[in-house]
Symmetry: D2
Subunit: 437 residues, 4 copies
């Protein structure tokens, strides 16, 4: 029987993974440890060492690891033989989630969406969203953006800008037109205006789009945060051209931006929203497509999947909503948290003006862009050695990205930021010394 | 807090689902009840009524609902704050699963595969498999079969024969050549020979394939079971033409065919195997791609996904392997179970010779093909009313498919078969009476 | 000024072509001579040597080279400054062609088609045909056949079975399903029945077709002649499935099959017919799409092209129709010609039973299939050395194909067949001797 | 027998075309007359009326209609039974063309290209060019531009920006990325820089291109003339990214730009050049692909076509080269001609400042952009009524385009420009009067 606290340190060796698991594994290479347990902002390896977690499963653990109330609800459910797997049959667990989502998320925000449970991954939610958009509009073309990331299944991959991932397709990725994101060509160029011109030109060569899909803050793409003005213009372009607006809120949603949805404060009303990652609250696979009721042209079972009724996730997701989103307290707390992190990151920019360009991001989705992208792996390594798990983002991995649990305790936040500061100091002093030699 | 046994019968109403959930829901329409808990072969609705489960989550619950040992292991893991979500970082839970799979599944069968954890759905495993095949061979075309079903994300959907699902794509599904499955044109036509001719003809118009992907028993396609001879010929065709052989064992694997892999007794050695559904043992999302070591050309992170490190599933999956596959007992039991079911189904054919054509399938994946497909929804309905959950398959839903838990207790099996017999009696007597009028 | 008869034999050297022209040239490699003039069934090289022409520009010169009446009409037109190039404006030359085609071709056959002039190549006619079929039906998929050849532009190429040509595409060829042609799997297998089954199976995985396109006799594919019964069944399948039937009559049309259209005697009524090659009568570029009036949904200019109003070709095409198709004499003559050629080819089969399998083809589109495809290039070479131009066909170039001018004089036909007989004798005696050594 | 000068005026009626020809005809609708003969810059209808031809077959008749030397050479060739159709066999006619092109076009310009004869249409040349680029680079993506026009066969159409034409495809047009042409977003935006950024960004989402294809002056797109600086930057981007640069010189080549190739004075050296239209000199179908010798990876016959050896066109094409391009006289004359036209067009701008925005184009490829696109069809109509054939261009048909024969006699040029002036006067005075009412 598993006993996290009594693991023989030598039991699980790297050799097991290297021998049996595919070379495709990647985070394991940055964080060479075998992890056992985790609680809140801390994760433990089998030697008992603890790490502050500024990765949070790429924004999947916004409420930290093993939140006690979610954990307890799941244990209770298990002990009562709550049904775990239901395809898309009705279950009490799903009903309770639906009602909680409706009551605490949609209604207070004046939103009217139907909920579709696709397969329990973000990529699957994106696949369902573009399928629906194409089906409803009878068009094929979907406009996606530079540096956008939407997943690795074929439909999602066709929307993804990243060449490393696209290269894995082995087949032509069709049906998508890539356009420049906000400020992609610098502050002086209004890319929305350019998109508008190409779409309205009868010989612009861009087929009438079924949808425009975007992240309001590009997570994998390097923490590019679109302005409200640009988003509103894109929404207008979509409406004017008969296209649906899809917001992929998989990474930036569930509070990461400072509000539940990343688009709430941006003045736009997407037709479809995709969600996943932190939805279940404790890292269990779950995904969701929100669609305006009038778009619900799905035939029964037209987009299906075995695990779309993951009741364990419904249980913890409901607890997450009730615990964090039943009133405004958590959102208020997020603003303070965001400010604290940003202030500290700006101090890093000041300390290393030659090495760190600027703070990027929005809400509690922040990071620093460094001058020399080759240094970020050094920073990640130096941080890990000091007990911090943190990752990079951007086309050249030029951004060190902080995705702390949103409810991280002040002392853990402080500890993590201190480690990051130390790591920067070590890397850049070292670099400066080498350069000086 | 959730209390499965104390649900107020009126609490979760159909109205909740009809108001908030998308029209895409489908099983819920066949089985109009709100389920709460489940144990072994039985599932309970909120009114306390119990149903024998011959659906088993479409072969996701091969060991029944909430198997006590799996459940206990998961509760223990939770109570110790075992890490739930790890992306693809190393965890003790994963190490233990890897070693168990290697020790009890691969090594006793003399198999040498690397394990890749894609996103935790079958579709994602299929997506990864064809990506890899295209990448490794530098070719695009994948040969798939009539009545094949491989999932609903775009890459998997392109392989899927079902027109209802394909119609949802809204975009051209490319890169796939559809070929006739074994006995598709009747017993007298060797479709493998036809495929061979088309591939070897310089003007056959079928581009050199990256892979041939097949299910050895087509689950959704209507329980078509390929012969060993045909499978061996297809394997040879793949080898002769430089293509990889991919077996999609998502529905037929994990014991459903009578052995762990559905292809074990067929005399073939696939290059890639996709698994999901019953892998985790109790319905938790988990998927796996097995690939021959020499094919492991993935670059780190080239195919990734947030939930590919679902540790809860690793825990229960390990228990499933240790409990059922550490020795031959379970396989022996499966043979008896299969025989018992087949015998009873054949008795139905004899009883209703005008209405039921024949028994279809292999192993514990069996069903009856009826003469008039329009009757199967009646049979499903009549079964449900009598306390049995069972579904249909085949292009015209002409097959009533039995996917009982593999470890179903004899009394539940008997009860379920009796209900099915009663339902057939009711439907066909009724039909005969109407016809006689 | 050009003087065909006074060419300095040394003037045009192979070196010119080898230095300046692309490696893509191909017939030039089989027939190493520089040609100057041609008349009837004879073509002359710059050394004054004459060759019997059994190639006829791949059925482009059905009435022989420089037919005196066509030539004279064109010279007259030129001398009067008849407009040569008109885009798609109205010209007297086009009006006269239209009326002649209507009067002598369509009306006597009880056919009702609109004429579209695409760009003046067969490929362009095929491109227009499938565009129209897709546009009219709103579907994408087109069914084409093994060993079909329809051209080298991207749309036409996607329909073409030949791997050598497809390999040049450099891009995935989509939107086409390849099916087995009549007798592709031998006499015992009804491939039309197989196609029907796949189309009618809801999980057959073949998307509803916009069109079925076929040649009634596959020229490049090796002189495979479909039976009337098969063609009628394919027509019925098209109708039953809401697809258009397109006959590509580019090579087999204009009398080659024994009647003007190759499908006349087959009992089918295609919705669209593509024509080119011998349409202009003396080798000038011209192509035509015939479409049923109710399909004429083209918007003005929707499919255009610079050279679709090639008036020189209209002039000679009109003469060809008036000269050969104003009454039945020519068709009667074709039957005799066909019989004569077939008889002689059958004598070859008898003479070389170990080397020549059988006579293939229909009408005046005949050839011999040899046992060892590697010998056909020897036969072509030995023929050329003896003064005969003849080519091969079939996926492995296993067929020696005779495309004589349809109006070839008896003495030229005799001469050509004698040369072919001598060449066979030389090649197979030689081969037998070598084998005997 | 045809007698252009003795046509019975009533003989060819519109009814013939309306009854028999497809609705796809388009120029015929703008120029409602039945044409018989043509000479130089004049074209005659069957009533004997003559029109000044400012359309020139969309730049296909750069040397006017029925140039006496070309006509005579063709008549001589015909009278000597010169071979008309040779597939890609060697002919004296082709040899003489090759040597003339090499001697008078390539060598004086220090250019080293191999010549490929694709099917005799511009679209076919474009198809061959992109096939070759994809084949040589092993990549799929081709970058094309807003407002580019490259033809209507599927491969060429995928490169074409025009939505009207693209809409006819009925199938997804893949493998192409559309980018903004020079000054597409106005003078202040350097679109080449934007393209460079998207290509160099690892997450820009634009797959590595096989080629960049462009017209240096966009004919159908509205006479947009790219600057030398932009073209040079695009060439550099192509080189830096391993892509081939293809110049489509079908409309702007053969002297239209003021030099033989439109790119000669732009400081770029394309890897591949496509030509057609005026190549044959008198409107006969002929096309050409020029490719750098090191790119000549074609296998024999890999891209073929029945009419790629149109000897009539070779004869007239050789005469055209010898007559116009053997020395610099013609190019000098073009500069004067261009100046004369531009001056007159600028006077129109001054005369109608509210109605005509500006003169567009380069060389002898000029036009006027009007303020209200709806007026251009009026201008075309008013011109035709007064004896001038002229067409429109641009996404909204907002440009009146002048494509006079390059060797147009001064009096015809004057006459045509006067008619255009009168037509403008009539249309805009009329419009002003109406507006004033």
């Amino acid at each position: 029987m598993f006993d996290a606290h009594k693991q023989d340190a030598g039991k699980a060796s790297f050799e097991t993974f290297e021998r049996i698991e595919s070379e495709v594994r990647s985070y394991a290479r940055s964080f060479p440890a075998v992890f056992t347990s985790a609680k809140g902002s801390r994760i433990f390896d089998q030697s008992g060492r603890s790490y502050v977690d500024f990765l949070s499963g790429c924004s999947t653990l916004n409420y930290g690891h093993n939140h006690p109330k979610m954990k307890q609800a799941l244990v209770d459910y298990l002990m009562q033989d709550g049904v775990a797997h239901t395809m898309d049959m009705y279950s009490v667990a799903k009903a309770q989630f639906l009602e909680a989502f409706d009551k605490h998320i949609l209604r207070p925000r004046g939103m009217d969406y139907r909920l579709q449970f696709p397969g329990p991954t973000g990529a699957n939610a994106v696949e369902a969203a573009i399928k629906l958009a194409r089906k409803v509009t009878g068009r094929t073309n979907v406009i996606a953006f530079t540096n956008g990331f939407h997943g690795c299944t074929l439909g999602a991959l066709s929307l993804t800008g990243n060449g490393h991932h696209r290269g894995g397709a082995g087949v032509e990725l069709t049906g998508v037109t890539r356009m420049p994101y906000d400020k992609y060509f610098g502050d002086g160029v209004d890319t929305a205006e350019q998109i508008e011109k190409m779409l309205e030109d009868a010989s612009g060569g861009v087929d009438a789009p079924a949808a425009i899909i975007l992240e309001t803050i590009q997570g994998e793409g390097g923490l590019n945060a679109a302005s409200a003005k640009w988003l509103q213009k894109i929404e207008k372009i979509a409406r004017d051209n008969g296209a649906l607006l899809i917001v992929d809120d998989i990474q930036a949603g569930c509070g990461r931006s400072g509000s539940f949805f990343s688009f709430e404060e941006m003045g736009i009303k997407p037709d479809i929203v995709t969600m996943a990652k932190s939805l279940s609250g404790m890292g269990l696979p779950m995904a969701l497509v929100l669609l305006k009721p009038e778009l619900d042209e799905w035939k029964p079972g037209e987009h299906n999947g075995t695990f779309r009724g993951n009741c364990h996730a419904f249980i913890t997701a409901r607890v997450a909503i009730e615990e964090f989103w039943a009133n405004d307290d958590f959102e208020d707390e997020l603003k303070l948290k965001a400010k604290k992190i940003r202030t500290r990151l700006e101090s890093f920019v000041k300390t290393f003006p030659d090495h760190i360009n600027r703070v990027k991001g929005r809400g509690v989705m922040l990071g620093i862009e460094v001058a020399n992208p080759e240094m970020t792996s050094e920073i990640v390594k130096a941080s890990f050695e000091r007990g911090l798990i943190i990752e990079t983002a951007g086309p050249d991995d030029e951004v060190v990205k902080l995705l702390t649990p949103l409810n991280i305790a002040d002392e853990d936040l402080e500890a993590g930021l201190n480690i990051l500061g130390d790591a920067l100091q070590a890397v850049y002093t070292d670099a400066s010394l080498q350069a000086a030699e």
